[in-house]
Every structure is written in C-alpha cells, then in structure tokens.
C-alpha cells in the first residue's frame, strides 16, 4: 500500500466520520424534537450550527491560549524556521506555517489551524533541548504531514462536533428529566425512554468517533514524515526518545490532546485506566511502541538499542 493510497483511504474514512457526526447531531436533535417539542429540536439544531461556526472562527486563537504557545522573536527562531521551511517545501505546502514556542520542559509538538495557509506549529522548548536536528526534523515532518493531510482541519471539526453534541445532548437530557416529556401521542413513554438512552449515549459515540479519527492519523503522519524526509529511521528514533522521556506537558488540556505528536496527558493516568479493557478506545494516540514497530516494519530496519548521542538542536544552534 503506497502512502498516496493510504491518504486517499484516510480521506474517505474522514468523510464517513464527518457524515457520522452530522447523522449523530441529527439524531440528537430528532430525539429532542420527538420527546419534547419539534420546535425545540429545530432550535437545538440551529444553535448547534451557530456555535460550531463561532468555534471554527475562534479555534486558532483558542488553541494558542490553551497550549500557551507564544510567538518568539523571528531572529531567535531562525534555525528552527529554516527546518520548518524545508519540510514544508518537501510537502509542497503553499506556504510555511508559523512556528510558536511552548515553554515547557516536556518534549512535544503540535499543529493547529483550519487551513494550510493559516496553520501554525507549536514546539516545546523541551523538544529543542532533547532532539538532535535529524529527529527534530522528523517530528516537524510529522506535524507538517498533519497539516498537509488536512488532519488539523478534520480534528478541529471533530472536536467542535463532539463538543456540540455533548452540549445539546446534555441540555436535552436535563430538560427531559426535569421538564418531563410531553406524551401527546401514543407511545410517548417509549419515545421518552428511547430519547433518554439516546441522549445519554450520544456524547460517548461522538467521543469514540473523534478518537478513532485521531489514532489512525498518527500512523499516517509518521509515515508521511518518513516519506517527506526519506528517512523512516529518524521518525522512529524520535518516537523512541519521546518514549524514554517521562515528563508531560503542563498545559495539556484534554480537548487539545489529539493535536500533539505524543499524547501530552499523564502516562500514569493512562496506565491506571489501562485496567479497563475499553480504555484504549478512548486514547487519542496509539502506543508509541506500536508506532515505532509500524515504522520498523514498513522501513525494513531495526532501531539500535542505544540512541545516537548527537548534540540536541538547541545546543547546536544556541537556541533558548
């Protein structure tokens, strides 16, 4: 399977998931309409649409606020900007995304923005201090792949949809419980029960849709980075280095978790949740080991036991 085919399949899957979201939203609105009042259903649908549009417009600034990513003096960032430029050129992006810095010792990076033209990358100072140039470039390649594959767009939409669905399902559920469903027609009780169950489950369905989307994308972005730089081993080395690191990002809001190259939330927490067989369904990222193995298999190499002890990028170029 070539990368191009993989991207095409992935885009098809994405459209299916988006359709799934729309259907789910319709079901939630329909349940509210059927159990409470038809007009309420319409209002919920309209409200959800308005909210989604507002969220889309403000998403760029919102992500920056949530991740604490700041723009730095262009001169200071020049060597890093160059790397991003090169990777963007190799990906054929119409323009180079901005680079923002998150002052955090944990090595991680993310991509945000709805369109390639308005995208930006966030890179932690920890990443620059830990990764040698070759591996840093691979991580940037991973993020640029997200931008190129329109993952950032899709994930932003998915987050918004999941949020909207959770919100109106919650409102509908409360109204049903406390306001009481009107049983004007026959079988009203059945409709009400169906609505309660449906509204309870809808947010989880939305969450599942969102997660399934993001985890596939991580594999694809790893492969994309390997292709852009013609160096699958660099990506695998970078992932191994992330695996050996135990720190986590301080401002890791769960709602932006899917943006990062490595899941930014506490690993202790995921291990605790690991007791539940279902928990991996709700992880935003596949395990790093699985991602490394995927790269090793497609690249036909084995990672060495010992990581190369090249100088980290920050030290090499005198950055931060």
């Amino acid at each position: 399977v070539t990368l191009q085919q993989q991207i095409r399949r992935n885009r098809l899957r994405s459209s299916i998931v988006i359709v799934g979201f729309v259907v789910l939203l319709g079901v939630v609105a329909g349940l509210i309409g059927a159990a409470l009042d038809l007009r309420l259903g319409v209002v919920a649908l309209l409200g959800a649409g308005l909210y989604a549009i507002f969220a889309m417009i403000s998403s760029r600034a919102m992500v920056a606020r949530m991740t604490h990513a700041v723009e730095l003096d262009p001169d200071q960032l020049r060597p890093l900007r160059r790397l991003v430029e090169n990777v963007s050129i190799a990906a054929g992006l119409p323009m180079t995304p901005e680079v923002r810095i998150v002052d955090d010792p944990s090595p991680n990076a993310f991509a945000a923005g709805l369109r390639p033209q308005t995208s930006y990358l966030g890179v932690t100072t920890g990443l620059l201090r830990v990764m040698p140039k070759r591996e840093l470039e691979a991580v940037l390649g991973h993020e640029i792949s997200h931008v190129r594959n329109r993952d950032t767009y899709l994930m932003t939409m998915a987050t918004i949809f999941a949020g909207v669905i959770a919100l109106i399902a919650d409102i509908g559920f409360r109204m049903l419980l406390y306001g009481g469903g009107r049983s004007r027609r026959g079988g009203g009780a059945l409709v009400a029960v169906l609505a309660v169950v449906g509204l309870l489950l809808a947010p989880y369905a939305a969450l599942l849709l969102r997660m399934s989307l993001s985890r596939r994308r991580e594999f694809l972005a790893d492969a994309g980075s390997a292709e852009l730089l013609n160096d699958p081993e660099a990506m695998a080395l970078a992932l191994r280095r992330l695996q050996l690191d135990t720190t986590t990002v301080a401002y890791a809001d769960a709602s932006v978790a899917h943006l990062w190259v490595e899941s930014p939330t506490s690993r202790v927490e995921s291990e605790r949740r690991g007791v539940l067989a279902l928990s991996s369904l709700f992880d935003t990222h596949p395990p790093l080991e699985a991602r490394i193995t995927a790269l090793e298999e497609s690249g036909g190499f084995r990672l060495p036991e010992q990581l190369p002890s090249d100088e980290p990028f920050a030290a090499e170029v005198g950055l931060v």
């Binding site: 070539t2 990368l3 191009q4 160059r82 430029e85 090169n86 990777v87 050129i89 190799a90 990906a91 054929g92 492969a223 390997a226 292709e227 852009l228 013609n230 160096d231 699958p232 081993e233 660099a234 497609s298 690249g299 036909g300 190499f301």
Partner: protein, 186 residues
C-alpha cells in the same frame, strides 16, 4: 424506449467519468507545475548568490582564476537550462564547482573568518537544502502525473489533449523515485 434510456444513461455516466478523469489529470499537471516553480525559485536564489560569493573569494585569492571561471560557467549553464533534466545536470555541475571554490577558500583563514563570506556560505547551504526538499516534492508530483497519463484509458488520448510526460529533476545522479524508499539512512 427503455433501451434508449439505458443507452442515454450509460453515455451520461461515461461523460461524467471522462470529466472527472480529465480534471484529475489537470490537477496533477498543475501540481507538477507548482512543484517545478518551487525548484525554480530556489535555483534562482542560488544563482543570485554566486556573483557575490565569487567576488568575496576573489578579494583574497585573485589568482585562482580557473575555479572562478568554472563556477561562472556552471552558473550560466544553469541559467540557460530550459528543461528540468538539463537544469538538474547544470545544478550538479554548479555544486561540484562550488565544492572546489570552498576548498580553495579553506586555504585563506581571513576569508573564512569574514562575516560576509560566512553569511554567503550559510545562505548557500540553506538554498541547497531547500532545492533538495523542493526536488523531493517535484519528483513525486511528476511521478503521479506521469503515472496518470500513462495508464489506461488516458494513454490513448493524453497526447491529443496536450498532456505530455514531464522530466524528473534529479540531483547527485539519483533518479530514485521519492516513494518511501525505506532504507535506513545511516
């Protein structure tokens, strides 16, 4: 009457398919053209840097005439190259000539320490990195475009419609397609 409708339906379906396929080829061709202009921008930047670099070295090593001539010749060849293939060859020539120029510069510590020279060297390295990045993108777009016009049924009509195969831009003699080659790069 029903046969008429079936025939009509099939014709419409074929027309839609043909339209989609044609649009795809146009898109692939545009991508390859964009890919080429990305390379062109960087090649232009590279040729623009050369005169300053030659002047900077000449200030310290005026007698190394042969090297300067070689660099200037390669630069002219690159400017005059009209196809991606020719440009790739000229670009390799320029790389080789610049290698010799920098080898000459090694012998002059004052030159190597001069800020102007360091800046030019840095810019050139950056440009070379960008050329190789742009090459990876361009070659992959060319591969997809060429595959597109060489596969059925387009191979029969591509020439009539003005779709011509494009040349790869190869450097350092590597003609490997930029598919994930999956060889460890160490």
């Amino acid at each position: 009457v029903i046969w008429l409708w079936i025939v009509l339906g099939v014709v419409v379906l074929l027309l839609v398919l043909a339209g989609l396929g044609y649009n795809r080829l146009v898109r692939l061709r545009n991508e390859a053209d964009t890919g080429w202009s990305n390379i062109d921008v960087q090649l232009q930047r590279r040729t623009d840097l050369i005169p300053n670099l030659v002047e900077a070295v000449r200030g310290y090593a005026a007698h190394e005439r042969g090297v300067f001539e070689e660099v200037t010749k390669a630069r002219t060849a690159l400017q005059q190259a009209s196809t991606p293939g020719a440009a790739g060859e000229a670009n390799d020539m320029l790389t080789a000539a610049l290698g010799r120029l920098f080898a000459v510069a090694e012998a002059y510590p004052d030159l190597k320490a001069s800020e102007n020279f360091l800046r030019l060297q840095d810019e050139l390295t950056d440009t070379e990195d960008k050329i190789s990045a742009a090459r990876r993108y361009y070659n992959s777009t060319v591969m997809h475009y060429n595959n597109g016009i060489q596969s059925l049924p387009w191979v029969l009509v591509a020439r009539l419609l003005g779709f011509r195969e494009k040349e790869y831009f190869s450097a350092e003699g590597d003609t490997a397609l930029p598919q994930v080659s999956f060889t460890p790069a160490t």
